[in-house]
Symmetry: C2
Subunit: 332 residues, 2 copies
């Protein structure tokens, strides 16, 4: 009997790095689809910072954590290898919440069929969660206007890089915050950002002041950390802050305090958090905003591909060290 590999969550992380000790690798017989079912060969698995929240102890957050002993949650891309389902044929490309496993038995619920001309990297790096998230946050909350200044943290990440490129396409001045000279060079030289701040290089406020002479109208927050306070202090009147991620604090026992709120009054700021599960029904409208820019060649991306399901267990740490270069994808 043929088998496939799956990885279950075995323990929850408590302020420590993510590693194999938190997981259980299991080998299971490949199932045979019944009536109305299909079998998917999972080929590309997305790794996302949100996974840290899904692994962590239950809070009253927007989505429940993964149960211990259950397959770890993830979104992925695959191909139909057997089908008894009228809507899916063998060879169809599909996307969905597949989890950390090489095969997925499905009744079709939650599956999205993907046109054969679109690559797994493009789908997972742009058209799925990263692009939807960037578009929802930038347009619906950020309300970008040509001539304004936008700062985005986590700018070399999958969401941040799309936010910045969309804002450039809309005529804004765009400054990215990223870790390391290579990422900063990529933002400026390849993506066309107006400037980049290396948060590992020190003198953050000097860098920020020099690059935002007219203040900041929109801050797209992916990280938290020191830059948050500095950007907050430079917000212009009626500025908008999109709170999308806060990776600096995802694994800390005592999260850092935020800025004092007086500036919210003085500058009449709007600060708004969001998570995509509230907005999945808007995906067609969001893609309608994103696709023209993608088709015009204005949205570049890069994928950081790891090989083999088991690489996911340590791969998540790349988010915290900032060592990933582009969208993290595990090729199965």
């Amino acid at each position: 009997m043929s088998t496939y590999t799956a990885i279950n969550l075995a323990k929850r992380p408590y302020g420590a790095a993510i590693g194999p000790e938190l997981f259980e690798v299991v080998h299971l017989p490949i199932p045979t689809p019944g009536a109305g079912e299909l079998l998917i060969k999972h080929t590309h698995m997305s790794l996302d910072p949100a996974m840290l929240g899904w692994m962590s102890p239950a809070t009253d957050s927007y989505i429940p954590p993964v149960d211990l002993g259950s397959v770890m949650r993830s979104s992925g891309f695959g191909v139909v290898v057997e089908s008894n389902h009228p809507d899916f044929a063998v060879g169809d490309q599909v996307q969905g919440m597949f989890g950390w496993q090489e095969r997925v038995l499905s009744n079709g619920t939650g599956l999205t069929k993907i046109d054969a001309t679109l690559s797994a990297e493009l789908v997972l790096s742009v058209l799925a969660l990263p692009g939807l998230t960037a578009t929802q946050g930038l347009y619906r909350i950020g309300q970008p206007k040509a001539g304004e200044t936008l700062v985005v943290s986590g700018a070399a990440g999958s969401v941040g890089s799309i936010v910045g490129q969309l804002a450039k396409a809309e005529g804004l001045r765009v400054i990215g915050v990223a870790g390391g000279a290579e990422k900063c060079a990529w933002l400026i030289d390849e993506l066309g950002f107006d400037g980049a701040i290396d948060y590992k290089a020190g003198n953050l406020n000097d860098q920020l002041e020099a690059l935002t002479p007219d203040g900041i109208d929109i801050y797209f927050e992916n990280t938290g950390g020191e830059i948050q306070n500095l950007v907050f202090a430079r917000m212009n009147a009626h500025g908008r802050i999109v709170v999308c991620g806060h990776i600096a604090d995802y694994l800390t026992a005592t999260p850092a305090p935020g800025p004092n709120w007086m500036n919210i009054i003085k500058k009449r700021l709007t600060i708004k958090g969001f998570t995509m599960p509230d907005h999945f029904q808007d995906a067609p409208a969001l893609l309608g905003l994103l696709m023209p820019h993608l088709m015009a060649g204005k949205i570049q991306y890069r994928s950081h591909v790891l090989d083999g399901l088991e690489s996911a267990m340590t791969g998540l740490n790349l988010f915290f060290s900032g060592a990933n270069e582009g969208k993290l994808i595990v090729r199965l």
Copy 2:
């Protein structure tokens, strides 16, 4: 020649109490209105927490500070005593930004005529800045819905007391935060709040938990301080935070940090600051929301009246000690 008294700002406060040493009291000849001008006898002057900002060194805030040597800024109520202006007759009641002075020479700009049946206390305590501010913040930002829970800090203040009563009229559960047993009793017994938290009594979180068993949907912030963090942690998904005032930090050199932003994402919160000068053109619409509740007897108020212009110089400290009982008004 008859004279009147005016008070100029002479020094800026730096983290200290407000007192006569910051002001210069002057006596000036009463002017005679020229063509198109009128003379107002200023009878009731409003004292507001915002005055602290107006006295403080220039920041890039929403309104410039008062120049040293100029009459201190304030809104007030008065009666026309001489007029060469076609729109104003002797005996008319008027309201405007009169400043700390007993007489005001005006060309009519910025003046609002007040119906003779309305008292100065009602106008300054409800229909002017306090009511407009409460209505703008609660309805336009707070988006109240029957059955939700609202917490308001500075609840016994002029804005907070109206916010709470409007929210009660809209069918919300309303909890006020105020200083001292007398104010808390007033909120519950006279204004009909569902509960009150005495921030001077300690055990703030125990009080808050007991009074908000279903969490908090709207927080109307007038004060900052410890309660901010506690309320923030109990916000429900899609909660709204209206940031109207932050009196705990107006005179501090090093304002207290705010809460960590992760909860903004987890709960998809909206936090929005505002100041009324952005919205004065909406006054008719705001009064349209406020007046039905006032006419139905659902908006009570109390005024804390000081006597004589010079009482303003120390009266401002009542905001910081929380010793004012109702809207602070100086009767001239």
